[in-house]
Subunit: 342 residues, 2 copies
């Protein structure tokens, strides 16, 4: 079978980790035999932005739509205080644009910790909340307003996604994370929707409960075993998933999937890390775990990749961020070496 993979490397270490992941995937393709991956590159990022005032050309979105899945590296976003007002207005975040244009409403972020029993997944709503880009500055009164939107339909589909995910991944519990004691209307709607859907006959074997987002930020450290699947709104999911990544191997082991009804994009949670870019020392594991999630989505066996990454980790064949002394290429070589069908 032939799969078209849209590859968006982006900026900084995004390029490096994606390149090595593709090399690993090509090696895996040989082992699998029956499968063929075609990589179609598309552009996005800061270089694009400075060259063409467009961080994500339309062509990239069109290419993405024609592929079976998208593998995304990382993008450097310019600070609003670093670029002028005019450029600031023109800037569109590539990842946010892709999430919106491809309606990738679910962001799935597993917490991977090979050293402990911590094992939960954050399902983050990916298209609304504070990410709708409705913001303005009132010159006269000198204040800025951003709108946070929670829709009934948007809440329903992400909550259903979380429960369906729990069922198909053999998980037992879904927790709704919200701030409905303050955001009584918006998060009130999110929580109400959650409680309604939780009662669905289909989900009768899944336990459900809810926690406030502030308490959750504490529990993630104090008692992570409380959690199994969490479902939450966009920005809370952003914050909590970065926090959760620190329990495991840190961002170096944190993959994510952005999934919609028609498309899916896979990206490491980490950024483009300009400070270490170009040195060949970035950790490619998160992107390889993204690649494994992509294979799951394409219904291709991903276990050999997951096992190979885990083995490299446990044997200390890692980059410096995980305590090892290998570079990006060397880690990849090890993982390729460990790839075998069971």
């Amino acid at each position: 079978k032939n799969f078209k993979i849209c590859v968006i490397k982006g900026d900084g270490i995004g390029v490096e980790v994606v390149n090595e992941t593709l090399r690993m995937l090509k090696a895996y393709e040989k082992i699998l035999k029956s499968v063929n991956f075609e990589f179609i590159e598309a552009k996005a990022g800061l270089t694009e932005f400075f060259n063409n005032k467009d961080a994500i050309p339309n062509e990239t979105i069109e290419t993405a739509k024609k592929c079976d899945a998208i593998l995304f590296g990382a993008i450097t976003s310019p600070k609003p205080t670093e670029i002028g007002e005019e450029l600031n207005k023109l800037y569109k975040s590539p990842i946010l644009t892709l999430r919106k244009e491809l309606d990738l409403y679910s962001n799935v972020r597993p917490t991977i910790d090979y050293n402990s029993n911590i094992d939960f997944v954050i399902v983050r709503e990916n298209t609304e909340g504070l990410y709708i880009k409705e913001e303005y500055y009132d010159e006269e009164n000198e204040f800025a307003i951003a709108k946070r939107k929670i829709s009934k339909k948007g809440s329903e589909r992400i909550v259903r996604f979380a429960f369906d995910y729990a069922i198909s991944n053999n998980r037992k519990k879904v927790s709704c994370i919200h701030k409905s004691n303050v955001l009584r209307v918006t998060d009130g709607l999110f929580l109400k929707t959650f409680e309604k859907i939780a009662k669905d006959e289909k989900y009768r074997n899944i336990i459900h409960n809810d926690y406030l987002v502030d308490a959750t930020a504490m529990y993630i450290i104090k008692s992570p075993e409380m959690f199994d699947v969490m479902v939450t709104t966009n920005l809370f999911g952003d914050i909590l998933s970065d926090e959760a990544s620190a329990l495991g191997g840190g961002l170096g082991l944190a993959p994510s999937a952005n999934i919609g009804d028609n498309y899916a994009l896979f990206e490491p949670v980490h950024g483009s890390a300009p400070d270490i870019a170009g040195q060949g020392i970035a950790n490619p594991m998160a992107t390889m775990l993204c690649c494994a999630m992509m294979l799951d989505y394409l219904k291709i066996d991903s276990k050999p990749i997951k096992n190979a990454v885990k083995r490299a980790f446990l044997e200390g064949n890692t980059t410096a961020d995980l305590g090892g002394s290998l570079n990006t290429k060397e880690v990849t070589d090890k993982i390729i070496e460990y790839l075998t069908l069971e």
Copy 2:
């Protein structure tokens, strides 16, 4: 000297921890000799709400305004999905109402960890952001909107507060925590204001930098020593301070001060804990540390209280949440026993 303290015990364990803190403060008063505390009780909370449909009577706000400081326990807020729509519309959070009515714009939350070197303070803007209560539901289109407001004046005063706090508490660095890569206008304004004020000649000896809120949630776990004073918007401060409390003794040791230009209110970060209320086993230490912050504010020596709490902690004279086996009264007895002027 005579000080009037407005005491709002609230619900659940709020009542218990405040009672014991007042007992401790009376004992300290005897040691101090020259100072007299007068406690003036005022009502707020869920019982009030169910009795009079008003969780915070006007009288309470008036009483608070007449006092030199306010000591606040904890409130049980009803879930929007538990009470009917009508009650939901009537509900006003006591603590949010007090922050707003008394214009308590700075929320200061130190991270207290007696076992390690973690020692940073979160300065949270306390009156705007997503807490302005501008929310509505669009029936026809079935979505809810909340507004997040960041004003120039509000940003300026909290940033100045953070830098002034750094100077008077001998701290070296102030970090601005934001999400300006997504909230380019609102957090763009917050960050711009921060960068402008950081350049003030007065603050030339204070280092400054900024981090994204999601990355910060991770760094708090991975490298807490990075932080000294953080300044951030309302909801980010809410989430990050609960997270940070987990590094130390947890919520059982987390105090907070809500400070404005004319009034100040001190409350533990923890809630009313309905699950353990009435059993006399709640940890009073956070409220006692609040009491110490209150004395700092009133320019009364607070060290004896801070030292006594620390000693009780280090000697294992704690409640169950901190691994000890004492109840609320017994912990208080120990702390009273340890109170001495140097």
